[in-house]
Structures are given as C-alpha cells and as structure tokens.
Symmetry: C2
Subunit: 363 residues, 2 copies
C-alpha cells in the first residue's frame, strides 16, 4: 500500500509517497525528470546499502546517473561538502534540468537541497529520505541548510523538492539510536498541535520501537500530513511554521555546545523539548504531571531527557545565536498545554528554572 500526502504549496505542489519497497519501483521519480539525467547525492554509509539498486533501475530506464558520495556525519554538513557537490556537478557539466536526488538522512537531504537551490540558481530536486527523522520531518517542507561554525543551519534556502519518496523498508538497516532520534520529531508533532496523535503514541510506543511496520507507516503518514498542513500555510516561516521548532532553540544550543555530532539532532531536540516543557511549567501553563508525561514518552522512545550541564550563561549565549531572534529577543516555542504550542518569549528566570530542572548539573 502506497500512502500519498500532498503538499499544497502554491507555486510548487508535490507529493510525499510513503510505503515499503518504494526504492524497488521508482517510476514516479522517473516520470518527473525534466531531463533523463540525475545526480544522486548520498554518503559512505548509505551508498553500499541502496545506491547500486537505485542506479540500476534508473539506468535501465535510460536515465544517465552521476553518483556523488560524501563523508557521513553532521560535522560534514558544511560549505566544504557542498563544494564537493558543485565540483562534481560542474566537472560532469550537470545542466539546469539535471535533477539532484538526495538519498539519505537529514544531513544529505539538507545539503543536497541547498546545492539544488543554488547550483545555476536552482535545479530540480527529489528527496529519498532513509532515516525516520528525514521521512517524518527534514525531507518535507523545503528547508535546506548547512552549518556555520557560529551557528547550526545558518546558511540555506527555502527550496521545495519535486517529490519525496519515503521507502519504509530502508529503515530496516537504521541503527536503533537513529530510530530513536527520529522518534523525537514524531513526538514533537503530537506535542505541537495533535493531542490525539500524542495519545496514540503513548499507546503504541513499545510496538513502534519494536519496529511494527504498519504502525510506523501510520506514524510517518500522520507526521507528514501535519507538516504538510503547517508548511502549506506558512512556507517561509513568517508565523506558525515556527511551532515546528519546539525543543529546537534549546536543542541547537545543546548540539553546538557539545560540538556537532556528539548528540544526535533528535536527541538534542528530545532534551530540548523537556526544557521547553519545564519552561512552560515555570510560566504556569503545564502541570508537573504533564512534564512527566513528556519525559516518560521520550524515555520509552529511548531518548535522553536530561540536558548536558553547559551552564546557564553558555546556554543563553548559544541561544542568542538562534535564527528565531528579533531585536535581540529570543522567540521560544512553548506549550500552553500538551498538544498546543505557541510562540513566545521567556523571562530569564523561567529559562534559569528550566535549566535547573532539566540539566545534568542539577541532578
């Protein structure tokens, strides 16, 4: 069964196809090519697993394929890696109608999307996400980016793919730690504005973590539906789309503070959501029992719920680098209640309280 979520963006609507074994029959991808030519960007881990099969199918259909294999890791989500893509494309004379295909997780997807956005001022682009995180979140919505030493995802573009092909079968090779990291973003959707889904996750988390494919399929579809709706309403994040950053202001500080790659993005977001919950409690919105529900669900998903002891000043300095800063004031995503997030500011005391409650040093 192939599930199809439509992303209804004005200038460039597209489909997210979700199902098992989609990489075995890539006709929908071929049908969208502006030119029978693609450049597949992937990394050293994913290439041996899925690249040959994809290339064989495309070549059988007469599509010329170039493969660009990058080193694996968040720490390579940099301009240097992007430049490896550009060098390869220019050396092979990739053209304006050549499609870039991202085969991999969020790191490959974000970089390939950015490369597609700027190569010759924009070439077509298709996402084949192979991590849970990429399938439920990063491959959808057109945010692309690379990191800068002074901030995560600081350079990038809004650039929509022509298609997202989420083959659930690729998750079979995904390490459990990465699966957990993706589950952080899944839980995020429940917390933001989908209480029904949050309850469903509480009921089904053990089976999900045991990799029940039907449940995973449902979760991926539900997340994509939620994200598609939010993105269609606010593509460039002038308003409500920012809600998708729940846990991310704290989370980015954790990632940058520890050094990219020490904690996985999803792990940092998990601990960050706990901090956001503590902060929301400090504001009087959540009850202790609500915070416990958040912590409990994240723990069952194998995620960290205690943030590293970077120190309050360092957290604040790192958060002041965030993209969601306006006239020096950091915008936080907070919870009015479980299943209802909002954009607001945090008095310093609430930040301190949250850090005290949620960081390792305080235990």
């Amino acid at each position: 069964m192939i599930r199809n979520v439509h992303v209804d963006i004005d200038h460039a609507p597209y489909s997210i196809l979700i199902g098992e074994g989609l990489l075995q029959s890539v006709e929908p991808l071929i049908a969208l090519l502006a030119q029978k030519r693609v450049a597949i960007v992937t990394n050293e881990t994913i290439a041996p697993l899925y690249l040959a099969g994809l290339v064989a199918q495309l070549e059988a259909a007469g599509v010329e394929c170039q493969s660009i294999i990058l080193p694996d890791g968040e720490k390579y989500k940099t301009w240097d890696s992007l430049n490896l893509i550009f060098d390869a494309l220019l050396t092979a004379r990739a053209e304006r109608k050549t499609t870039l295909v991202a085969l991999g997780g969020g790191v490959i997807g974000d970089m390939t999307g950015f490369a597609a956005a700027v190569y010759q001022r924009g070439v077509p682009f298709i996402q084949i996400p192979t991590t849970l995180l990429a399938q439920v979140d990063s491959s959808v919505g057109g945010k692309t980016a690379i990191n800068h030493p002074l901030g995560k995802n600081m350079l990038g573009a809004f650039y929509q793919p022509k298609l997202v092909l989420a083959d659930l079968s690729t998750l079979s090779t995904l390490p459990q730690r990465e699966f957990s990291a993706g589950m952080a973003e899944v839980i995020k959707y429940g917390l933001i504005d989908d209480l029904e889904f949050l309850v469903w996750l509480e009921e089904n988390m053990d089976a999900l973590m045991a990799r029940d494919v039907d449940l995973i399929a449902y979760a991926v579809e539900r997340c994509c539906q939620n994200k598609a709706r939010i993105v269609a309403a606010d593509e460039k994040e002038t308003g409500q789309r920012a809600l998708l950053n729940l846990g991310h202001t704290f989370g980015h500080a954790i990632e940058a503070g520890l050094g990219y790659g020490v904690w996985l993005h999803g792990e940092a977001v998990a601990a960050g959501m706990v901090l956001a919950a503590h902060a929301s409690r400090a504001l009087g919105h959540l009850q202790a029992a609500d915070v416990d529900r958040v912590i409990n669900l994240l723990q069952r998903a194998g995620l960290p719920v205690v943030s590293p002891a970077l120190g309050g000043e360092r957290y604040k300095a790192l958060m002041a680098q965030d993209k969601k800063v306006d006239a020096g004031r950091i915008k936080f995503i907070l919870l009015r209640q479980l299943g209802e997030a909002y954009i607001g500011e945090l008095p310093e005391i609430a930040i301190d309280t949250a850090l005290l409650a949620g960081c390792e040093s305080s235990k």
Copy 2:
C-alpha cells in the same frame, strides 16, 4: 527629479528610484526597513567615497549600521568573500529582519544579494548601485551569484531586492573604462527588442559618453523599464528573460578564458555581442551593414569589438560550461534583425564563421 520604475513581480514588487543626489536623502530606504538595523556591504574603493555619508544619515535616523568592506574586484566574487560577509553578520548577530544593503557595482550587488538570499534562509536586501552597469542591469531583476573556478555566476539565487536606489551622482567618480563597460549593457537593450532606443543611442552616444546627466538619466530609466518588463514576465528565466544574455555566452567565455578581471564584464559582453552579430549574419539574418552598425556604436562607447584569440576549441569548451545548455546543446541569443533577439542554436560552422570574423587572430 526622481524617476520611479516599478518592478511588478507577483510575490515581491519593488521600486527602482533613479535620480541625482539620492544618497543625500535615504528616507525611502529607511521607510522600508523591517528593523532599524542594516549591514552595508561595500568594497575598499567605494567605502572612502560614499560609505560615511550613508552611515551618517542612517545613524541620524536611529538605524544601527554595520559596515562590511570587501576587497575590490571580480576575482573576489567568490565563496571566500561571501564567507567574510557571513562571519561578520554572525559575529554581530545580525537577525532575520536585519537588512543587507549593497553599496557598489555589480560585483558587490551580486554577492550581497546572494548573501541575503541564504543568510538564515533569507533576509531583506536593498541595492544601491554605483556603476552604470549596476544601475541599468545587475541591480534589477534579482539575479544574484558568485563565480566558481569552473564557471562564472555558477552558484546563486533568484532573490529580489526590496528597493533599488540608483543615485546618478555616484557615476561622477566612475572611471571612464567602467562607464563604457556599463554602456555595453545599455546598447544590449536596444539590440534585444528596442530599436527606437537603439536609434536614440546612435544619436546621443557622444553626449552620453561626455556624461550629459539628463541623457544618462533617460537611458538608465529606459533600460530599467525594459528590464523590469522582461523580468516581471519571466522571473526565473524559463523563457524570454534569457534574451538579456545577448552577447553573454561568448562574453563569459572571454572572461573565463582570459581570467576573470582581465577584461571587464561589459567589455566581454561588447565583444560577445559582436560575435553574436557575426553569427546572426552567418545564419542569414543580419546584413553586413547591420553588423557594422553594432560595431560602430560599441566603438563610439569606447568598447572593444574584437574578441581575444583564444582559439575555436577553447571557446567552444568554455561555452559548453554555460548555464544556457540543455542536453549538451548551447542556447545562443541571436538577432533576427537589429532590435529583435531570439533564443536559438548555432550550427558549428556558424560559430566558426563568427569567431573567424570577430576574433583577433583573424585580423
């Protein structure tokens, strides 16, 4: 008298203001700021001439100013320069509503626009073009780019400014060679689709080159009107906008072949337009007298009309790197007649004929 040309782009219409002394009263710029904060990007040549005056005015109006001064030259239109901008912005914690202001010629405008397009996935951006070329061409229409060793303007974005402020008084300090280079793009508009303007240029070229300000004002306005119309109809260059590249496929080959900066962009475009005219004649469209008219007008504007002897194979190899290549075929901009350009292909023999007629080796 301030002339106002409206660029009617769906999602982001904006004005081009043209007049003398506009840098002395930048209220229209201040009125558009999303935040009372700007980062002005300029270079070492322009900064001593115009930066302090601009900053003084902005600061008097309570606008916080950061100045970013880059080295001067086409050879610095690279990622490294872009990164100097990002480092400065991040160090100063420039935010999503901070406006980037490009104060300079096409090199500064193209780089600043690209920086604005990707910094935090897009911040507001204003153009203050200070060369004739930038006032009539590069500051209008939203093409931004940097060069790559393997090709000019290969990395970039379509990203529209919020405002273009073309102060004609700044041209008073522009070296005559640069003024000529800008005149190449002015003549280009006449050749593409404005025969009336071409005839006007033939009548007024000597006075224009003697810097008659009223004539210059009219020429800048007319060029901007032409460009605004073409860009509004085809922002992303899927069709007719490509006509604006008349002379550029050959011209980019000249620039890259000699090494960026040896010939000015406008000079290369001038010689490239002569090659395009020769090629159009080889196809039977133009008469010898038409080609002579083109050559004559460019010469009166102080521009080179004979291309360097790079050799036919090198020209073809360089042109095959162009962005206007589809399935290996180079798209040329050719002339059906003076004042009527079209997009087409060139048989190899016509390229050879044009190079033979238009290159130094053949003289």
